[in-house]
Amino acid sequence: MAPPTSFTITSMTEALTSNFLYIILAIGMASAAGVIGSFAIMRRLALASDPISHVALPGLGIALLLKVNPLVGAAFALITGAILIWQLEKRTGLSTDVLIGVIFSVSLALGSLITPNEELINALLGSYTSVSLTEFIIGLIASALIIGFVLYQKHKLTLASLSPDLAKTSGLDINRLNLYFLLAFVLTMILGLRYLGVLLMGSLIIIPAAVGKNLGRSLNSMLAIGTAAAVLSTGLGLLIAPNFNLKPGPTIIVIAAILFFLSFLLKRKS
């Protein structure tokens, strides 16, 4: 679908109507990113978040070559990546950050070689694509599942993120919880790939949650503010980008970064 070129109320209304499913799904995805992001920050996954999203690219490229839904390929690659990180986390003797840095950067390099050139920029930075009703329903259910999981397991995730030892001695099976969290984390990435691409999806999980961390006075308010910041960045980004012929991913992230900067100033003031 071609983005509208002039910034008018009519074109905005048209864009809103024709992209209804696209926008609603984006809001669902952004809400999921907001809640999962708070715990990703607590678990110190902020730096790892970007390289993790890169692993989607080889899967996406192979799916495009095989002419199947690219999101299926990306999902396969990301779930494999989540299981890999889960295994790495369990082996405390290994230097996980180095391994993540190497493996996931190689994924980006390989994926860039595999992905057809005409699709590469869209895969990296996100694009406007039509959303089928099936994709819409599956996407919304997945968003609800992620949000439900995080809110339902909030206490367990808090303890496991804060101190694995305290969590274990409180009777938690943190090994299983970590796997579920990482799967929810990559599921959020899969939902956001069409909007933000493999380069920027990790940032939508981290930056709005960092806004929540700057402004929140409790974990609950951090979650609420982080989610609101993710929804606001995504909503505004998708409304503004088509009118200026911009890519949605970078637009959303620039808005999120502005919110982060403002939250940083507000935090310093208070």
Binding site: R44, H155, T158, L159, S163, T169, S170, N220
Partner: protein, 236 residues
């Protein structure tokens, strides 16, 4: 008194290097066991092994249906994280399926004000955070408290208060306490048993009988000065 913990031929190795070697000791209900030893002697490793956090060889037998509360030596806390004391304690209440009324009860036990409930953990003072961690350990009505240097990095008056609090808890709740500590004067005041550790077990028994000058020299490798306190708190 019934045995609550029995340790036989306990060995812990990391990458083939033995960090705890051939330990044998037991703890009875209501005991206050203090584990002492120089830095790097395996005290924290031993405590974590007793908690089931580290793989080991040998035998650790806890009494059936025991509930443990744990105070770690350090909590690597992101100071800017807006996690409130209430949320922190409620997470344990939820995970351990305890009664929410326990929140107020444990606060009173560690003498923390209710006003601090909505303060984020990063903004609590060192002493308050330590009390908060003890409160956390007390949720779920444990029979045994395992405390790793409960007064590390806090000032001496707070240190004294925290030991008083632990001692009072032991009396009021009939707890068994296992403490890693470096403070020998407090060992004399509160411990009923002491385990001297320098990778191997240098001594084990009641402090008055066990902690001879010779043993302490063996443990720390140099003459060691200490104050000998009696259980009533007077000093010799």
């Amino acid at each position: 008194m019934a045995k609550i913990l029995e340790v036989e031929n306990l060995n812990v190795s990391f990458d083939g290097i033995k960090v705890v070697e051939d330990l044998n000791f037991d703890v009875e209900e209501g005991d206050a066991l203090t584990i002492i030893g120089p830095n790097g002697s395996g005290k924290t490793v031993l405590l974590k092994t007793l908690l089931g956090l580290i793989p080991y060889q040998g035998k650790i037998t806890w009494k059936k249906d025991i509930k443990m509360g744990y105070l770690p030596q350090v909590l690597f806390l992101d100071q800017s994280l807006p996690l409130t004391l209430r949320e922190f304690l409620m997470s344990k209440i939820n995970v351990s399926k305890s009664n929410p009324a326990e929140l107020e009860e444990v606060l009173n036990l560690v003498r923390l004000s209710k006003n601090s409930l909505d303060t984020s953990l990063g903004k609590l003072s060192g002493g308050q955070l330590q009390r908060a961690l003890i409160a956390f350990a007390l949720i779920g009505n444990p029979n045994v408290l395992l405390l790793d240097e409960p007064t590390a990095s806090i000032d001496p008056p707070s240190e004294e208060q925290i030991y008083e609090t632990i001692h009072n808890l032991q009396d009021t709740k009939n707890l068994t306490v296992i403490i890693v500590s470096h403070d020998l004067s407090l060992v004399y005041r509160y411990a009923t048993k002491v385990l001297c550790l320098n990778k191997q077990q240098i001594c084990f028994g009641p402090p008055e009988e066990t902690l001879t000058t010779q043993r302490l020299e063996e443990l720390y490798g140099a003459p060691h000065k200490f104050y000998h306190h009696l259980h009533d708190g007077s000093t010799h």
